[in-house]
């Protein structure tokens, strides 16, 4: 894994404007940044990212069964009691998943370490699947990258195939996102393109305009019944909205399905560590309330995690991260080393939630930037990556998207 300085495509901003990629620059800073790119060997991609991510997704599915069997764990993941049956039913029906994105710390050597799983509403799909792909094609054609350069990016094809596998031909799908956010909308649109390519009907409706019919079915802004709804809006919020009680009786299939509420939750991380302690791609993780006193040296860990805690206590004391179980874009994340806060997110939107403690995995630094590898899962498989980098240790919403390639 290397960071390579490369000439930008001369016309890329025009191209971005032509295709409506309006957030290529955001808040006066570049978001899409092709002044450099990350280069990988095929072995790094296949052995260190692709296969582990596919395996991790299978482990996460095991974790769903484990959490659903335990009311204690459902409590710890703050799953509203009133909607647990909805989640259990979606799992027992095997409601299909479409996509998710693992975020990894990886420096080219040794196993990638799972930071978190955006299993419910991952964004940056368009940049990863389409704009990055075009970059590679253009740079090979321009001779900037050697013939035979490749990219780990079968995202679009896999999405089309997945939609085709999950839905009968001509099924009408609705797509929704909160109004007025071009980034979220771009992800939904990339989804809509893939669905249409798979022979399905794709319709869009702003989230705020969805209605409920007298029969309890969801309606779009033209009062058409919504049979299948892809929502770029997290389950933790859906389950706390006014319409939460309508979901179960709506006869509407949700994508991602309700059971994804268990995976997009940071409480997944201690569950995974408990089930697969020592797995090379996992970082030690615990619920904060179980180990906070022990970590501070003022008490004992909870008895059922005491042994596991002692095995990694030195590692955690050297450096750990605390994260609210529900948090996005790095909000309310703190990094502590030897008891001192070394970095703390400015955004504190999620601070009221319970937290988990995860061993700190230092991100590699390239020219002062720290990349995080986003590994895309479509269906059960890892099919591509997108990289975002930040000067900060906490990847936030202003982080830049960087293209990558595989060296021939």
């Amino acid at each position: 894994m290397q960071k390579m300085t490369l000439p930008e495509r001369p016309q890329w901003r025009d191209h971005a404007r032509d295709v409506g990629f309006t957030f290529a620059d955001m808040h006066g800073e570049p978001y899409w940044d092709e002044t450099s790119a990350y280069a990988f060997s095929l072995a790094q991609i296949e052995s260190d990212i692709e296969d582990p991510a596919t395996e991790l997704h299978a482990m996460c599915r095991e974790a769903v069964g484990h959490v659903l069997a335990s009311n204690t764990l459902m409590d710890r993941l703050a799953i509203p009691v009133a909607h647990r049956d909805l989640i259990i039913d979606s799992w027992q029906r095997d409601d299909p998943e479409i996509y998710g994105r693992f975020d990894f710390a990886y420096d080219g050597n040794g196993p990638a370490k799972l930071l978190e799983y955006n299993a419910d509403t991952p964004t940056s799909l368009y940049e990863s699947a389409a704009f990055q792909w075009q970059w590679l094609e253009d740079q090979i054609a321009a001779g900037v990258l050697p013939e035979g350069s490749d990219q780990f990016n079968g995202i679009h094809e896999a999405l089309v195939a997945r939609f085709g596998e999950v839905f009968a031909p001509d099924t009408q799908l609705h797509f929704t996102a909160a109004q007025g956010n071009p980034e979220d909308y771009a992800t939904v649109e990339a989804m809509g393109w893939a669905a249409r390519e798979a022979g399905l009907g794709a319709h869009y409706c702003d989230l705020e305009k969805i209605a409920v019919s007298d029969e309890g079915q969801f309606l779009d802004d033209e009062d058409r019944v919504i049979g299948t709804l892809f929502k770029l809006y997290p389950w933790e919020d859906l389950l706390r909205d006014d319409y939460a009680n309508h979901i179960a009786g709506s006869q509407c299939q949700f994508v991602e399905p309700a059971w994804k509420a268990l995976l997009s939750n940071k409480g997944l991380l201690p569950v995974l560590w408990h089930m697969f302690e020592g797995h090379p791609n996992l970082l030690p993780a615990f619920f904060e309330e179980d180990i906070a006193d022990a970590l501070a040296g003022t008490g004992a860990p909870a008895s059922d995690v005491a042994a596991a805690f002692e095995r990694v206590a030195a590692q955690l004391r050297a450096g750990h991260v605390t994260k609210p179980i529900l948090s996005r874009e790095g909000a309310s994340v703190s990094i502590l080393k030897a008891g001192e806060i070394v970095e703390q997110a400015q955004n504190t939107d999620y601070r009221e939630h319970p937290r988990i403690v995860q061993a700190y995995a230092s991100l590699p630094q390239f020219d002062g930037f720290r990349p995080v590898i986003g590994a895309w899962i479509i269906g059960p498989q890892c099919v591509g990556i997108g990289i975002r980098e930040d000067r900060s240790r906490i990847t936030q919403d202003l982080s830049r998207f960087k293209p990558h390639y595989i060296t021939p």
């Binding site: 295709v19 679009h156 909160a178 919020d237 909205d241 939107d349």
Partner: protein
């Protein structure tokens, strides 16, 4: 065997994924204004609208207001939707109205260019306050951030809303029949991660 897709539709962002090719909706120049005076004040020679357009649109919107304003079965339900002090009784708005039906006060107009006379359309549409300090149309299907300013809008924004006069007013349950998603975590703009 490459690890990338063979072919990626470079999706043109901006609604095209969700509309049939060639079926893109017509757009028209549109303007919102709080009252007739602010419309006529903005009339310029060769501008989008003439003073007469303003008057016609306001008259159309006021007619629609009486026919099609959201109607509620109590003041409190109306105020839940439109904010405190933003509602009055049907009787005070119309001569033949009921004192126990409540309607939001008209708080602005939306005018679209070159739509007058088209079947099922009305170039002048009433605007009402929402509880959140925005503005909505009579069918409550569109929300606008303000009640003044020019923009382009789909012609469907100028479809005549369904008549509500003489129909059963909305109860608390039916009034809430739209907009029950998206309220969590207000203040955040995006929800992806």
């Amino acid at each position: 065997m490459t690890k990338r897709s063979n072919r990626v539709a470079i999706a043109i962002l901006g609604a095209t994924a969700f509309t049939l090719a060639g079926c893109r909706e017509d757009q028209v120049d549109a303007q919102a204004f709080p009252d007739l005076q602010s419309c006529t004040d903005q009339v310029t020679p060769g501008g989008m609208f003439s003073a007469q357009d303003c008057e016609i649109a306001v008259a159309e919107a006021e007619t629609l207001h009486l026919e099609s304003a959201p109607r509620y079965d109590s003041l409190s339900v109306c105020e839940e939707q439109h904010g405190e002090g933003a509602c009055g009784s049907e009787a005070s708005a119309t001569q033949s109205g009921s004192g126990s039906i409540f309607m939001p006060l008209l708080s602005g107009y939306l005018i679209g260019s070159m739509l007058s006379g088209r079947a099922g359309m009305s170039a002048g549409q009433p605007l009402y306050k929402t509880k959140g300090g925005q503005y909505t149309n009579a069918a409550r299907t569109s929300t606008f951030s303000g009640n003044s300013g020019a923009t382009k809008l789909n012609t469907s924004q100028f479809t005549k809303p369904a008549t509500t006069a003489g129909k059963a007013p909305m109860t608390r349950a039916t009034a809430a029949s739209r907009g029950g998603f998206g309220k969590s975590a207000s203040g955040r703009t995006g929800f992806g991660g």
